[in-house]
Point group: C2
Chain length 371, copies 2
């Protein structure tokens, strides 16, 4: 065994996305202590930059020390008590994962199913909330990474409030790629990941909790089932007054990378980042359609940062094509997940991957492989 | 806000320890996909190197994608079902954290308390196991990071087997610094961290589960309460036959760093690494005793990699001294935790920090500050 020197790949799958050299360099800076005042100051800047990214004033905004799945679990285990009812919208893999989180936390999941490739149906949500007045939480995925669909988070959060429910929003693939307006939409709890439109290596999950969610945590009568993810404890590390208290050791160098990635987003500006994702999507879409591809998702709720296309009928071995793309062209695109396995490809334009060079490379490589 | 360029510090606290440039460089290599064959091959090497470090043939040996506290929780939530009884040995902060894990998983904790600074008392454990035949698990901390005490893991695991209990061992601070012999000792489940004697940035928790522990997981009648930490799911990613299936996105660059740190340990050899920790401990001990320090922990169960010393009575503001060490000497040492706060300092010699230059620097700086 010897040191690992990976062949660099262009990352156009569903995440991780291309990580700029500037972020990798930041990650390699000397490790300091997790209670070093330098690091505490960095944590404050990260919180501030995350508030910018999430468009919120929420004090409780910070990265959970683990990937997006742990951010999801943080939201559910802190807001659920055994016996609660949670309405979960499922239109892809990650809605299904939410149901797992709900039942494992001892709550009842009321599932609203929509076809994979369609957004969450607002009318069904309204009807379900009306017929389940006991529901405490409405949970949904803003941008489904398994399908490339954007759901109407603003309308869904409004429905949650009308029916006195908290909202839990999965913004893993949306943050930094399309608008995510936590305060304007009245989101109560939200989580994301670093390896999508922030172009930071995976390993952290930014979250934000609003005042209604915090009140719900403070009113708990049972302990949170996870010690590691218990926000009443983690909070003392991230925002303790008069000194931070030790909870766990934060992934220090991963925080350097997240800080740098958020700085880059701040320098570019949110609107410019969203526009860049849209422009590159349009260029990729035009090229893919010229090659004969059709999209799984209708334009009005299609994610610019995740392009899910039907695999052409003439392709008999889709895995072989993806293997060739990866090995001969050093280009990663994503396979279909779950019910869509073998039927679609997912082509990501996330964060730094949303650039003209990647669009051109992808179209050229596909043309080469498909003939 | 601008890019973060930390002033480098010499890390002689209870972790993180100094991270060699070679490991930081590895961490900054290009991010590839988490299902890229290159990365899958790296995962296999990491598992193999972890088996070397843990001295085990256990197939289920891999790093959990989160810090040591999540590794602890992985052990408890996978092995506990509601209503179980777990005997927990508490002789410091981390034993106390184990109790939290046990009760939050719906089990009853039978606590055996020993004074902070003393090892786990074998006789008390034997008596307790005899009087609690319903106990399913014996859990203890091999190397207590809050006190610097080494407990007799071999004898404790033997007691667990005699009484038909599974053992859960916290090896966060021991792995790589003192012998950890998973197979020889009959450890059933063990977790560690990367930022102690492996000198890798924090963020991952190596674990290993033996056949008895796996049989216990396979016999479960209730689901594991954490989706993120459910080994029956995570295993499919780390050791799926005929292709890995997606569970969560691994912290890819953190894995590069862990691989490099484990390679360095392999190159040095375990015995050489243990001897180096011991030699540097003896040099530091002699120097500290010359300066008038006394140790909290008796020599026969003192950890070489974590030196806990009483703060001299003439020191009226211990926090000010630590602040001066950090700011004027760029040297981090650790404060006391819990009951020992303000009474002791914890001076780490972990991994790359266990070197003559650090010993000399620490003694010089302490002499300078204490006069």
């Amino acid at each position: 065994m010897k040191p690992f020197h990976p062949t660099p790949k262009t990352l156009m799958g569903p995440g991780p996305s291309d990580v700029p050299a500037r972020i990798l360099e930041a990650m390699a800076r000397p490790t300091v202590g997790h209670l070093d005042p330098q690091f505490i100051a960095l944590m404050d800047e990260i919180k501030s930059l995350l508030r910018f990214a999430f468009q919120t004033e929420n004090a409780l905004t910070f990265p959970v020390s683990a990937p997006g799945s742990a951010g999801m679990e943080t939201c559910f285990v802190n807001l659920i008590e055994p016996g609660d009812t949670v309405v979960v919208c499922v239109n892809g893999v990650f809605g299904g994962r939410m149901v797992e989180n709900v039942t494992r936390a001892g709550a009842t999941a009321v599932v609203i199913s929509d076809d994979w490739g369609k957004p969450v149906d607002l009318q069904k949500v309204e009807d379900t909330l009306k017929s389940h007045p006991e529901a405490k939480i409405l949970a949904f995925v803003h941008a489904e990474t398994s399908t490339g669909v954007l759901s109407d988070a603003k309308a869904l959060c409004a429905l949650a409030r009308e029916h006195d429910c908290l909202s839990i929003v999965d913004a893993v693939t949306s943050l930094g790629g399309v608008p995510v307006k936590v305060d304007e939409w009245g989101v109560d709890a939200i989580y994301s990941g670093t390896q999508k439109c922030l172009s930071v290596p995976p390993g952290l999950s930014p979250i934000s909790f609003g005042p209604r969610a915090i009140a719900s945590i403070e009113a708990r009568v049972t302990p949170v089932q996870s010690w590691f993810l218990d926000l009443s404890l983690v909070m003392n590390y991230w925002q303790g007054e008069g000194g931070r208290s030790y909870h766990h050791t934060a992934p220090i160098n991963a925080m350097y990378a997240l800080h740098e990635g958020l700085l880059m987003l701040h320098e570019e500006g949110l609107e410019a980042a969203f526009a860049r994702h849209q422009t590159q999507h349009e260029a990729l879409r035009d090229g893919l359609e010229d090659l004969g591809f059709s999209f799984l998702v209708e334009p009005e709720y299609r994610l610019p940062q995740l392009n899910t296309v039907h695999i052409p009928e003439r392709v008999t071995d889709e895995a072989a094509i993806r293997k060739n793309l990866l090995e001969k062209h050093d280009l990663e695109i994503g396979a279909g997940l779950g019910a869509l396995a073998g039927k679609v490809w997912r082509i990501g334009l996330m964060g730094a991957s949303a650039c003209p060079a990647n669009v051109e490379k992808c179209l050229g490589a596909l043309k080469d492989e498909l003939g």
